[in-house]
Symmetry: D3
Subunit: 334 residues, 6 copies
């Protein structure tokens, strides 16, 4: 059983049921998630041995989050509790021409107050094949940045593959550091880049175009500036409306470009966590298949996640392989 | 802040959750609305100063309706209570090839028992720029007709713009008056007509065709017979299925014809109140933009309302402008 | 009022709300149904006089099932209670590219323990014009097979039309009999076959192709081997995705082939029971229309059932005729 | 199987879930009921053959009500549909020191528009042993009064026992008749009076005291003025708080006074329909037991109804006998 | 109509439905409240003209809070929006021997970031008869303390009555000030003290006993140290279990001691906000009745609030007067 | 961290929400539990290291059960999947004088099909201090009996304490063995008996009285016939009504009798699993306290479980210690 470590915030999502607005509601559904925990949960659901590192609040909210994480069989031994509240966000789910809206409450939460000294990275990473991080974590607080950096350096020393989805989010990075500079630094400690032209342009300050040619040039430039990166996989999600989406993957590995077919998803249930489903699918794919099949698996994982409510992809590898094989959902499995 | 007055029934909608039928349900969601209150609420949400005139029941149902209306910041000082029950309707929401169904209980309700003497129209209309009414109100009872007529005459005296959506509904008009005659009379006290060939044919007894030529001829005939009308705006909603709709607006102003693009809405959440969203969008547009932009804004308001549960368009002007700008909902606003 | 008898399991469906998975839920919606009861309920809703024969558990679950059946006005006088639990199944409803999943708990239930001696078939069938059965029942237990067989033989003696939807389900037939042999035997006691190339190939062990030519040949072969069959009606459901489906009917009657148009259903609410809606529509159609109109009615019934939650088609004949007339659901019936 | 006829409004109850107020809710649970239908449903649940006579609305609300009534196996052949809406009421459920509140919408509904000519009383009453009515029906409309009167006269001619719960409600009787006079007239067509000092004082204009002596004197006076009355049974419900109640029954039959013990109910779930549960329990008791046991059974039925949500007593005779035997609910029936 | 100003945090409550724990839930009910807003809402429900001063978040959560506040007709003109998230807390509701549990997330929220310069106190207080504050606000942040202090000084200058419920909460006061010192200072700017021996002992550092004698001595000491205080009203809530409570009020005014009876509440629905209901009842009482009746009214308001879900007392003055008159809730108001 | 092993069925509970009956519901809440899993979950919640041995169904229902069990951090490595459905039961929750009702569906489920050869008891019991079993398991099937017996013999060999709650249930034992004989055999492999006079009388066929004297004599007789038993602890639950209960514990250890106070629980939320809470509390107590304190802790655990919905006691040891200390729940923990 492959062992994987993920690091990042455990965040609670609160959302009025269905497509309601908050003004129309007296109740909200809640889910736990967080971009890296979403990756962890999906990998655990597919049978991997996963350790997630984070902080939760030392109250019944944090206890509930821990129960949730344990329910996937994820190792929680490296999750600490502190006196700060668990980070959370509110989501109004859009439909068709109406976009979804998010309001965050995370910048002073339990994860934002993480400190490097609370984690024994050597011990946590022992036996791991993959360490996954995203650009959200270092944007939350200096402590999260420092802690992550220490983990990355340890992982590199130990020769562990480091995957990164270095999403830059303009609503983070309030603590004084320059997001793009930090991301470039941390990417340079990583080995597999999950992102495309937008992400590269943001990190490097370049202006590559988003067509295939631009993608390939951007990848080369990234590899030049961050030489530890040896594989680049990109997910493309085209939102026709809030209820109809298309997904595609493309990659540059060893100078070879390849891409997947477009998968179409009508009747979208949830867009949150589709990128994380891609990342989890990719890691699972790299552990079990060749690079091209891994990309196709990742894209199918991304597509099927659009049909699952909440942050997390509850689908098994078998479910994903069916989508990858082109089987539409128009049947009933008895 | 523009001041607008609306007049009409406050009605409660009761609907089984989702697409369930009543036989399948033990609970119903409820919403307050009413065609003119829907216009009022949308205008208030967009920042206008709105007064709504109506009756509610003198019980906890009426109290709840008042709280709801106040939550938009709408002025309720001219709403009276009486001993009759609040009007209501039941809705079974259709899907795809199955149409929605409505059953009314309104003809002996608190609004049906409204009387002209209970309203000081001069005082209520003071400072207003617009007075909006629809063809529903005079169809409910003689008292509603008399009260509305007095309001319209007062508004015309005071030089206030009067907008009308003169929908003829065959399931009303049970109290003895001829609906089309009454509507023609009341339209002749109005200045902006929100309707098209169907409405004009019904009111005037004409038979214009529904193409552009027919629309323009119908408008000219209407202006001839009701000379106070100086602008005509029409909304076109094409229901592909109960779950897929198209909307378009067209207008004749000062002899100039113009029309909007078609907007497509998949995954329709609610069709009720989409015409009211158009009317509110139009009034807001006329107060803030030129006539053509107003029409486009109205059409976008109509489109986005299809994604909101209940009678009322909870969207802000910014949300509507995004749809008008052609931004699909396939993104998440963080 | 036409009198019809149906025989089969009363089964409870348990399903997380919406598109949730069980892991995401703490509650489930429940519905009663069962393929033959679905036919019975739809026919009763359309005004037929229906008797359903089955067993239920002798506890409050069985009592609830009986109340449910009575609510349609179905005659329950021939339903017995026994000490075994009511059969049930769990359903996770898919969406788009994600298929639905079912887990059964029925093989030791109250219906599985049915015995021929508990039913007075002569009395039950008195005055009936139609007797409907499906291939599910004889697959559940030997007792169900024996009981059904006795009923069929009695019906044939009494000259009653026997309709069958002989679906072969590989997850049944655990009690030792060969499913295809049994089905062939029971079909040979029937008069109207509701099924197509797949069903015929399974029962006869043939390999006809699924095009029109193959369909016609398969029908001829079936009629040769089971000469009591005089009409064959087939339903075709094409699942584009779990949320988008197409339905069509075709038939061979007296050597004449005819087929319906394709009906498209977007925003599918529920796929369970769509075949049963077809069967009920067909029986109603045969009782009220000519064969070709009956097929069109059945196809429209099948289409509209996709918009109804649960196993049962709650639509009236008028609702179905509207779909058959090509009226989409994009309107509101006030 | 004893045959019983009941006559009265089918009314829908709409109530926010739990103890919420309407202002706090966006949804309401709904139930069908009505004082006489509650008696009918309870009797049918206990195995009696019951016919209920009423009107329902000719829309999907009325259809749902019919399904509900049929689910008890009640004969609905004498229920008509008309174009008026189904009567309904809103209920805010109190708790402890907070009282429950009701708002009605029934005076122009489908039952209020009932007419004597729509019912063939001879046919409906054929074979009946009991006819049950209450004082609610004649208070709703002149038509309801006239229809009921015709039924009572027919029942008396046919020698059927007529039970009455002649509750006078001051919020009815809006159509011009004097409630107490009408009730006295109708009681004089009845044979078993279910009521006590309050009811007698209201009907006769007397001022008997509520102690045992006053009760006995009041009964004698009632029998003097309405000589067809031969048995009088009274229910006493003492509301300690909205959550804690006591019930007792007393009776005067053939000059003999007897009374039951007090039954205490903590954690009251619903107070509506407890009097109807008493009436149903009494009729069942009179059909199956002696007068004193009947009174005890009625009192136990009244007590257990306090634990059931909605208007209707879903308990079996066995459940009621257990309460009557003094078994508290502090056990689990496996 | 009496005009009252309140100042304090608008906080969102999130709670699993019923008595569930978070681990057992996937959804939470939400309510807006906050100790001073609870007072404001109750006063507005009873017909007072209320202005509430606070901050909300500049997102859809803050917008929802504003709608909620407006629904009571409360003036929101002095509420600002800022970029910090709305404060919130999670509540697990206990039952019987299990206590309720709360987890807060408020210390970096929109109200905690309030600043004195954002409020024009002179304008806000114009025409007010009462200004109400509690000890929660100054415990949240230095800004809240400074802002409140400025308001109090202005109110005193303008001769407005200042009521205070100076609750000391040990889980606040994280920003560096000594809670008891600050409270003593702010109480010395107030005129009516709502609290008893515990509160006085905390603020003054004294050790009076909680019997009547101790209460009277504590009051005298408080008046000596804070001479602007001229009336002292205390609420006593005895929690028998989480489901059963008793309330009593006592007071010292002009040297006269008086107290109310004990009111018992079984089947407690919600304990939150019962003290605020007392405060609102007291202010309403002081405006409308004499001091002793005001205390009794306050105590009845406190009792009835235990039966209402959420933070806010939705009861009218009439409802409260009934409880005060000793009418239990064991009846139904039709 | 103490290590404990439990063995028994994982069963799903399905229950209409609140106090509704199934006939009134369209949805049910579901919970996983089972008498021994309840003990396991409570011990894990209190921080113990617990392994549970069972079977679950090899479908998404079984997967959900596994997730649930893992969420407590319970070791599931010894749980197998098979093709039989997960056992389940339906529960209608009573109130006050109405008893709760249960209908089971478990006798052919995944646990009933357990086989001795599937478990490596030596490995599973390694390091365990306690092995807990109940009388439910051997009553389900011969396989369950054989498997349990093997486990008990292994545990005794390894010198592990064996606790048993030997509840005899008459609705089990359908597979041919005599329940009392089997229970006596299995108790004779155990060391700590959790039960009282009723259980001893059933197992030994004796007729001891239920007073203290009878209890002591029964204990002595049990120890004589089953000499491995060295401690006996009894729980007494007195159900005043379904909503009001009392609990007490008593014990005989080394010839010493001791008992706890009575704890009263009003407003009972759930009675299921209260005995299991006692057992878990007792084991936790024996591991951490002396025998008498252990009994008091067990009794408090039993009491507080009455306030938790579902089968499982979610309370921490701290929560239980508070109840044990006599702190009522009438307070809020902030």
């Amino acid at each position: 059983m492959s062992k994987i470590l993920t690091f990042g915030e455990v965040i609670m999502r609160l959302s009025p049921p269905g497509n309601k607005t908050m003004k129309q509601s007296h109740e909200m559904e809640f889910f736990f998630g967080g971009t890296e925990l979403n990756v962890a949960s999906s990998l655990a659901t597919m049978g991997c041995n996963v350790t997630h590192i984070s902080n939760v609040s030392d109250d019944f909210v944090g206890e509930s989050a821990l129960s949730f994480i344990k329910s996937f069989g994820i190792n929680t031994a490296f999750i600490n509790k502190n006196e700060h509240p668990l980070g959370l966000y509110f989501l109004e789910v859009g439909s068709s021409v109406r976009a979804s809206r998010i309001a965050y409450n995370r910048l002073n939460g339990s994860f934002a107050n993480i400190k490097p000294e609370q984690i024994d990275w050597k011990k946590a990473l022992e036996g791991c094949e993959y360490f996954h991080w995203t650009g959200i974590s270092p944007g939350i607080s200096e402590g999260a940045y420092e802690t992550l950096k220490e983990g990355l350096l340890t992982a590199r020393e130990m020769g562990i593959e480091v995957t990164t989805d270095p999403a830059y989010r303009s609503n983070l990075w309030k603590y004084g550091k320059n997001g793009n500079e930090v991301l470039k630094e941390l990417v340079s400690y990583s080995t597999i880049f999950i992102g495309g032209v937008n992400e590269i342009n943001e990190i490097l300050g370049t202006q590559f175009s988003s067509d295939q040619q631009g993608f390939m040039e951007a990848c080369e430039e990234l590899k030049k500036q961050c030489p530890s990166i040896h594989k680049i996989f990109d997910k493309i999600r085209i939102g026709v409306t809030a209820s109809s989406q298309q997904t595609q993957g493309r990659a540059l590995v060893n100078g070879n470009y390849f891409e997947t077919v477009f998968l179409e998803v009508d009747n979208v249930v949830d867009r949150i966590g589709t990128g994380d489903a891609f990342a989890a699918g990719l890691i699972y794919g790299l552990l079990n298949f060749d690079d091209e099949k891994a990309l196709n698996f990742a894209n199918a994982a991304c597509a099927i996640k659009h049909t699952i409510l909440g942050d997390i992809n509850y689908c098994s590898a078998e479910d994903i392989l069916e989508v990858m094989a082109g089987n539409s959902g128009g049947r009933i499995k008895r």
